[in-house]
Structures are given as structure tokens and as C-alpha cells.
Amino acid sequence: MQQMISIKALAHAYNREKKINFDDWQVSKGDQWLLLGNSGSGKSTLLHILTGILSPATGQVKVNDTEIYQLKPRELDRFRALHIGIVFQRPHLIKSLTIEENLLMAQSFAGLPENRSRIQEVLESLAISASLHQYPSTLSQGQLQRASIARAVINKPALLIADEPTSSLDDQNAGTVLRLLKEQTELNQSTLVIATHDQRIKEAFKHTYTL
């Protein structure tokens, strides 16, 4: 099976004294993984390295068959825009833009033409199409989290990464977000990696990488 993620001999130095080594890891295309670890274990650091926003001290990182740290900065930006979608713990949409404009911005940064029917399709699949022209400040927390998932999947990324998406949610909302992430991954035939210390969702995944 083709690999979506491959890390080998990866290490990151926070400073001269503090360094973290990551075990080698291979993720096949279409798999759904849980990246488990306590706070401060290096989950976010690994996710930042995988998304190309934090250069590792040593080692090799391949995402979707591309050695991402061999790319030039602008190529890496474009690669991230086209191949990786990221969902954060807090939704954090751009407040001055409507939900539609937030998604149009994501399309624009990826260099893709504006595709409003795709936006409609994604928002409908997340049951928030009525919020299309609303500003983030007018939406509930649940709607915002759905909108942030929509932004992450709008360009049909090959890899969907979520950083603590359920940590601050109650059981019901945590379950909903997890379901939506899995649904969107299957819908877009993506690979899913969720970094969390939330033990509630451990049972929902076959594959686990623990730090």
C-alpha cells in the first residue's frame, strides 16, 4: 500500500538542552491514526513538522511521496495548501470574513479558482450551509468547529490533520466532531491523523502512534 506519511530518524531541538526524538512512522494512504501523548510530549511539534511549518533538526519527512523539507519555501507553502488540511483545537476563523469568504480564501491561497459549488457542497455535508454568509462572531461554538473542518477539507487534501479537536468539548460534541472528521476523510478519500491526549476517543481508532 502507498504511504501518506513516512518519518525516519526524526528529531527536533527546542534549544541546546531540550531535544526530542521521534520513532520512525509510516502511515498508509486512507488510514486513520491517533497520535496520542500527554501535554508537552511533542504531539504539536510533530504535527507542525508534518505540516511543514517547523523544520526538524535531523531526519527525513515524506508526505504524499514528497520529501517536504527538500522543497523551496514557496513550493512548501503551495504543497501545504493543496495536500494538507489542518483542524485546530479552537476553530479560529478570520473574523472580518464571512464563512464563505474564509473558504474562498483557502481556495485562493492554494492557487485554485473560486469554486462556490464546492463550498456549498462541503457546508451541506457538515450541515451548516445556512451559515454561508454569516460572520464567525454570529455562530455557535459547534457551528464554528464545523466551519473550521470545512476550511480544512475545502481543497480536498490528501492528508487531514487535527490537533486536539475534541479536548475542550463535552462528550456529545466530541463525538460529533470525531464523526464529522471521519466522514469528511472518507468523503475526500483522505488520510486522517488526530493528535490528542483525550482518552475518550482512543477506542475509535485502529492505529495509534504514542509519544
Binding site: 507542525h48 489542518i86 479560529h92 473574523k95 472580518s96 470574513l97 485562493s108 491561497f109 473560486e114
Partner: protein
């Protein structure tokens, strides 16, 4: 969703601070626009109206007042001079052309000037319709006079004594319009021209002028006697006249010679102090505006660090973030500049419409190519104010920002 649209949306979401910055820039640019338009138009009018006039000879008094009254028609004359003296000076070998002026009356604020055919030659006047005055009380009127007073060939009107409206009306003689001048773009557009004899007669006792009621010609034939005129416009014959003639007038006669070039320069240096002060005031406002835009962008950047980091995770390059911040600065300052220029033009038009003196009327409908410098200044202030915040956005360490949040 281009960076420009993102910048615009960001500014729109902060209407109060964006509005204040735009207002500051607009205020500074507006003052500069008003100064630019006013000083250019006043300068142009001074030049146009004094073109080809080397010297003005009149009664002793303020030389500036003599120039203002005899060339620009915006002050009272310094007095009258004997016609005999004026005629003697006109025959001087230093003089190429001498144009006599006799003032004293107006029609609804437009001055009635008694003169001769030399005035026509000096300003190269042409008629749009009709012909130049030939007999007493016939007048040629300027284009603006005709337009504003709705006068046409054959119309008659009564002149009023003095140089302002609402004065005593000379109802014993009526002026008749025989010609309407082509638009000249100078002071003659606002004048009513007739022969000197008409002005004299208008001020004689009514019972004394019955002999002229059949209107025979007087121009350039009136015997001097005790007659007086207001002033004499002089064109020199040679460069040597510049040195000799004024000195001769000022020392050897009871008259005064004033140079339009020198008095205009003196006038401008007097006005210039005020213009300079206002200009520095406008520059100070622009500087405050630039600092305000900088503070606005800098503070907003601190608040929006996480926004910008999210944009980077969505694939925005460092250059794109740089552009978003720079364009915010430019949008603020260019909007302010455009608003300021428009307000400046509106203000000048309003000042012009409220001006009593029709001779020096300002217009806000004139656009100068120098106004492009105001746009350039707006552009420069925008870049200057945004460059540091934009550089910070460019250099932002997104992994650290995301980790902190």
C-alpha cells in the same frame, strides 16, 4: 479572495480606527489641495492679467494698491492724476504704448473702465458679437458680465457710483451694449469698457452735458484741461526704460510709478508666509496620520498574529502576508488622499462661489497635474507606515504563534 480583498475586509471590520486614519489623511491632503489650487490660480491670474504691462503710473500712495486697482481691479485706486501729465508721459521715448484708465463706477459689482483703443491692443481683445464702443456711453462688456447679467447687444443699463454695488445710481445717462467680448480667461472677462469721455461725462452735472447728447465721438480727442484719469498702463520701448523711466516718474513728477512684477512678488511674499504656515500645518497632520496608521497596523498585527499564522497554515506565503499588511496601509492612505483631494476641490469651489470679488474667483473644478504628487505622498505614507508591521508579518514564526495559542 485576493490579498487586497482580505485587507479591505479587515479595514471594514474596524470602522472607527480606519475612519479616523482616513479622516486624518484626508484633512492633511485637503489643506494641501486647497493651497495648491488657490496659489496656482491666484498666481496664474496675476501673471495673465499683468502680462505685457511693465509699469503702472498713478497717484502717489501705496504702490501695491495702485497695482491691485489698475491691473487686478480688486482695490480702490490711490487717486486721480492730471490727464496732461499722463499725456506727456505717454509721449516719452521710453514708452512704446500707454493705456489710460478712468474708473469710478460699476454695474452690479462689475467695474466700468474708461479707456482707449490701446487697451484693446494690449489685451488683444476680440468681440464674440457686436463691435467695440465708438460713441459716448457705448460699452463692450466682458464674457462673464454678459453671462451673469444676461446682457446682450442693444441692452442698456445704468451705472452706479463707486466700485461696489448698492451705491448711488447715475440715472441721467444709460450705457448701451454694442459688443460682447470673447472669453479671454483674464480680468477683462469681468469688465465693462467704454471711452474715457463717458466716465467724465457720467460725473458731470446733468445740465452741463446736453451738448453731447447726440453722442459724437470723443475718444483720444478730449482736450486735457483739468481733466483727470485714474492711472496709466505702460509698455516699455526698450530694456533701458526699466532703469530710467520709473526713476524719472518718481523723481520728476507728482506721480507714482509701480512695477507689477515687483509688487506681485511682494504680494506673494506677504501671502507666502501664511501659505507656508498652512503648508507646515498640513505636513504635520500628514505626519501624525502616518504615525496613526502605523500604530493602527502595529496594534492590529499583534491582535491578528494568530489570524496570520492560520493563513500561513492554509498555504499563504510570507510575501502574501507582507502584501496584506502593506495593502492595508495603502488602502487607508490612498482612500484618505482621494477623499482629501475631493474635499479640497469642493472647499475651493465653495470659497470661489462665496467670493465677492469676481476678478479673482477661485474654481474647484480645475485639476492640476501636481495633484499626482499628493497621490504619491499618500502612497509613500502608506508604505512608510506599513513597512514595519508588514515586515513583522513576513518574519512571523508561525509554529511559535500556534504553540502559544
Amino acid at each position: 479572495m485576493s490579498p487586497l480583498q482580505i485587507s479591505w475586509k479587515s479595514l471594514k471590520s474596524k470602522p472607527l480606527s480606519s475612519g479616523l486614519n482616513i479622516l486624518l489623511i484626508a484633512f492633511g491632503t485637503g489643506i494641501l489641495t486647497i493651497l495648491l489650487l488657490a496659489s496656482r490660480q491666484i498666481g496664474d491670474k496675476l501673471t495673465q492679467n499683468s502680462k505685457d504691462i511693465d509699469l503702472v503710473v498713478g497717484a502717489k500712495g501705496s504702490p501695491l494698491q495702485l497695482i491691485l486697482s489698475s491691473i487686478y481691479y480688486i482695490d480702490n485706486p490711490t487717486g486721480n492724476i492730471p490727464l496732461e501729465d499722463a499725456q506727456r508721459l505717454s509721449r516719452s521715448p521710453f514708452v512704446k504704448r500707454a493705456v489710460p484708465l478712468a474708473m469710478g463706477d460699476n454695474y452690479k459689482g462689475f467695474r466700468i473702465i474708461g479707456t482707449d483703443s490701446n487697451y484693446i491692443a494690449l489685451y488683444q481683445l476680440k468681440n464674440a458679437t457686436g463691435q467695440f464702443w465708438k460713441k459716448d456711453f457705448e460699452v463692450s462688456i466682458g464674457a462673464t458680465v454678459a453671462e451673469q447679467q444676461k446682457l446682450k447687444i442693444g441692452d442698456t443699463f445704468l451705472g452706479a457710483h463707486g466700485l461696489t454695488e448698492n451705491a448711488h445710481v447715475h440715472d441721467h445717462h444709460a450705457y448701451k451694449v454694442t459688443g460682447i467680448l470673447c472669453k479671454q480667461g483674464n480680468v477683462t472677462d469681468n469688465l465693462i469698457l467704454t471711452n474715457i469721455a463717458s466716465v467724465w461725462k457720467m460725473h458731470e452735472e446733468p445740465e452741463h452735458d446736453h451738448a453731447h447728447e447726440n453722442g459724437h465721438e470723443h475718444e483720444e480727442e478730449e482736450p486735457a484741461g483739468n481733466r483727470e484719469i485714474t492711472s496709466l498702463l505702460i509698455q516699455y520701448r526698450s530694456p533701458m526704460s526699466v532703469v530710467m523711466f520709473p526713476r524719472m516718474v518718481n523723481q520728476a513728477t507728482q506721480l507714482q510709478a509701480a512695477s507689477p512684477a515687483m509688487e506681485s512678488t511682494r504680494l506673494f511674499s506677504l501671502i507666502g508666509v501664511g501659505i507656508d504656515t498652512l503648508q507646515w500645518f498640513a505636513f504635520l497632520i500628514m505626519l501624525i496620520a502616518a504615525v496613526s496608521v502605523f500604530v493602527n497596523l502595529y496594534n492590529s498585527l499583534k491582535e491578528r498574529q494568530y489570524d496570520l499564522a492560520i493563513m500561513r497554515t492554509l498555504g499563504a506565503s510570507r510575501i502574501k502576508l507582507f502584501r496584506i499588511v502593506i495593502e492595508e496601509g495603502l488602502l487607508l492612505t490612498l482612500t484618505g488622499t482621494i477623499v482629501g483631494i475631493l474635499l479640497g476641490h469642493i472647499a475651493v469651489e465653495l470659497i470661489g462661489s462665496g467670493q465677492e470679488s469676481s476678478q479673482a474667483k477661485l474654481s474647484g473644478l480645475i485639476f492640476l497635474k501636481e495633484e499626482i504628487y499628493l497621490f504619491a505622498a499618500g502612497l509613500a505614507i502608506g508604505i512608510f507606515a506599513a513597512i514595519i508591521p508588514a515586515w513583522q508579518a513576513y518574519r512571523a514564526d508561525i509554529a511559535t504563534i500556534l504553540a502559544k495559542n
